[in-house]
Symmetry: D4
Subunit: 164 residues, 8 copies
């Protein structure tokens, strides 16, 4: 799929709270590669690097970022804190946690107070977070809309060709 975007100018950003989340976040990277979306990816913690996190999110819009993805587990504050300092859409990815399987991550991300939304996807739903970002970008970039249709067709074909 030919990309319309300048690969040196990321338009989406992927944040994760810890390098240990990299594996859970990988499917988002694959989606962005598949759709030709230039992305930047960074480990930044709401708790361990609050200043850098806020600075990074605050400058995102001016750097050309359109949508932020933020993945975190446990008391997962990263997406909510990002949402607090930008009006860009923030997509939260709850990471499956060691003891509570991610129900803590999910509730910490989705139950945001009125005024500051986080668009939450399934536990370990990094692929869907990226697809949602593509859907948002497609509103201004019609070629992505076409690409999403093709992607859907591929999903559909895979199901239809399944034999059991």
């Amino acid at each position: 799929m030919a990309a319309e975007f300048d690969s040196a100018k990321p338009i989406v950003a992927i944040l994760m709270g810890s390098a240990s989340d990299a594996e859970a976040v990988a499917p988002a990277k694959e989606i962005f590669l598949e759709f030709g979306i230039p992305y930047e990816i960074k480990v930044l913690s709401a708790h361990r690097t609050p200043d850098q996190t806020l600075a990074y999110v605050r400058s995102a819009k001016d750097r050309g970022i359109n949508v932020l993805l933020a993945a975190a587990g446990g008391a997962a504050h990263l997406p909510g804190i990002a949402a607090a300092v930008t009006t860009l859409p923030v997509i939260g990815i709850p990471i499956k946690s060691k003891s509570l399987n991610g129900i803590d991550s999910l509730l910490s991300i989705v139950q945001m107070p009125s005024g500051i939304p986080v668009a939450t996807v399934a536990i370990d739903g990094a692929a869907n977070a990226a697809i949602l970002a593509v859907e948002i970008l497609a509103l201004a970039h019609p070629h992505l809309s076409t690409a999403l249709d093709a992607f859907r067709n591929k999903l559909q074909d895979k199901v239809l060709k399944s034999s059991v």
Copy 2:
């Protein structure tokens, strides 16, 4: 706030599974009014009116809709079914349910399979669903970005003026 949009041409749609969800959905309408976003609102059920629901969602893009909000409770399939037949961003609003307080609605909406995302907000989080829609629209409509900043400032002022 002066609206830039043609009020006769809705750019967002609010779906709800039952007329009894109207109260829970009302805060979304208020947000859209506040931001001058023309919206359409409709009761359509994934289970009771599947054909009309699919037809409505499928035609949304051509009608000029950019973002869909879908509210549902219990085995809340409406957002997911909408997402299945459009590549527009779909925002799911889990409605608090009578017996399980909305944890069923939340899980039914957020735990979507890979490929078909639903941007999920908090239980009874209709206001945030609408704000998220505004954030998405603001990517192509800078005046909304300004309006969001003003809205945030208002939120901030309200907190700062609280006395306890």
Copy 3:
């Protein structure tokens, strides 16, 4: 057990949302084989192939299907969507999910709104889904009632012969 049915004319259908559900669904096939019930089995997704799913379910009755089994995990919409477009009995099988162990699948399937029931069995309860279908078919096919009695006796004998 001698079958009374034409093996070329399935009277029950097993749907699953993904080929990865095949293993969880296998016990249903074994039950139908044991009772001599001709079945058809198909991978169809409420989200990835909504049209084909609806068409398949809608035509089921005319094809001679009496009961549908639908297995799905996570935001498990397949049984509910099937139930929305047929008045045949639909039996829902919640599949154990990766992060939440199937409690999401269970609630997404069982908490259906008034008007559109799904007969829900236990998480990973494919065998019981099939037995329930046999019980339903037995209302019109007395030989199945006899077979169910024999099946129950076998279950009973197995317990009574257990030594610990």
Copy 4:
């Protein structure tokens, strides 16, 4: 709706564990009245009247009963115990419980062991339990199939006429 059945010969039975469940069970009665299905209804407890419960369920088939509905709350054993002594389809209705809101009732009913299914509906889902029974009866009684279609149309119309 004209009934095809002899009103003196119930073909479905509704069991409940306690007279206090009567209100929760009432919607099932209304459905059966609407569809002209003669029913019998009885308070019988798995724990307080085990013998009478077993005798009642065991004799159901010979009395002409085709489907049993059983409603119970808390450690809700009634549907499972009924299913243990009949091969008629048993539909379980989890009643909302005082402390745990029915999640105990739901798990006690739906998580049946392999071999003895209970067709479980939503918490306080008595109406759907009855509709499911009608769907099962409709396999042998085509007029019920027609009536179900009409019922679905009514549901659909009600949604389509909603204004919000």
Copy 5:
């Protein structure tokens, strides 16, 4: 520890719903051996062998049984059904279940309706079920009271000798 009881005359009974529960139940046997309590052990299912289960429990008192232990998982009806047909104390052991880790077993056992108690212990708490039985027996058999004191001392010593 010298036993005061006739080893041919069991005074406690251990029931389990399936032979697959044998491992979970084994710690109860060890406790009874340690305290010199003659026990009988049997696989009997509330769902697969309801008649044999009821007959076994009903005759328990006349056979000299003082306390019944009943272990079951999932929709764990065995302890409750046993309690329904005897006034002997029934101790319920929730077995850890495959999908829900035993929270279903626990709620199915502990949430009994007023009038028919089941003395419930922890998930997979077979050892404690047996110790509770010994505590009950000790009310009439003072040597068991002494033995329990010694057992407690052993527990205490083990903790006090731990080094970390």
Copy 6:
């Protein structure tokens, strides 16, 4: 029902963690009155009066107490702490709590470590706690066994006379 016991010599004790638990515990008193069981009742807290609690429980056996009931809510330690200092049977009653409806109370009471059992009943199950105590006492007091049979018959009659 004529009592065989000296009403001045309590043989069971009811503990509760707070005077606010009195209403939840009242059904236990009614049961003991009905069965003619002399009881003592006391407010003692595992956390606010640990010494008095331990002293009271430790002296219970010598005072003639056979069974202890302990009711508590939230981080409900009272039953477990009582069980730690006596080998009398301790029956735990989880009180419905303000925020979590008693699931915290239930888990805090039932999930005891190996060696120190608490016989746990349903949330707010004080009546069943008392009946369980009567069942235990009946092992040495045959008149209670007869009384329990009569009590069961009354329960049964009440169900059989229900009309709905």
Copy 7:
């Protein structure tokens, strides 16, 4: 109780995410009054006023604050974000939330990642949060230790004087 502290120099701070938390936080104020601890109290939101929140927490130590209390509900980020920018002890108070009764607030506060602790108390446990703060302050202020002993005695007396 005579205060040793300068009432114009608060040594503890109470933060809450919204003025609507004031009632839930009130018991903390009462405790501080009772122990003569000068406190400051402020509404500051992690999401609506992130900068002011961070500035306030960061300057707390230099202003003479020893311990921070932070109360929040839902996706309760306030305590964690406070803990991220101070090494003073932060005590988190989960507020009971509208739909999920505070289990979301609790998990969002307590499940902090390694490195940044929040000392969490019970849902709506503002009084205990304040008492914990007093216990911490008492390490350097022996008169508080004496006051805590008196407070404990009062608690104990209240229990011992309860009659039921």
Copy 8:
């Protein structure tokens, strides 16, 4: 890091309910070593060694202990019982449990009644429990405050140097 404390005079104590908790508790020891905090560590059970536990906790203050850590799983009473007999700050560490993954441990520890707080950290959060203790000690020992700043910087650097 040079220690200011006499290594022969522990100022913090780590309790655990069972030697099997040693591995979960180890991260606390590492933190104390890193900060040069002399600690004592002991296996003592609220249920198996109640007297020794109470005696140990009661004498802690006079032995020079400033803060107690208590780790326990299941019906985790150790932290609460420790808190009942000291006014020193008690930090509770919920240990991940075998069947319920530690949600039982967490609720048993955190849901303490008003008057007796336990400062609760995350499930298996021993490291954070120790860091919280250091934060408390730092109020009177400024060198620990400096050390905590350095520790935070190290955490921050580790995040900033992550590459993914």
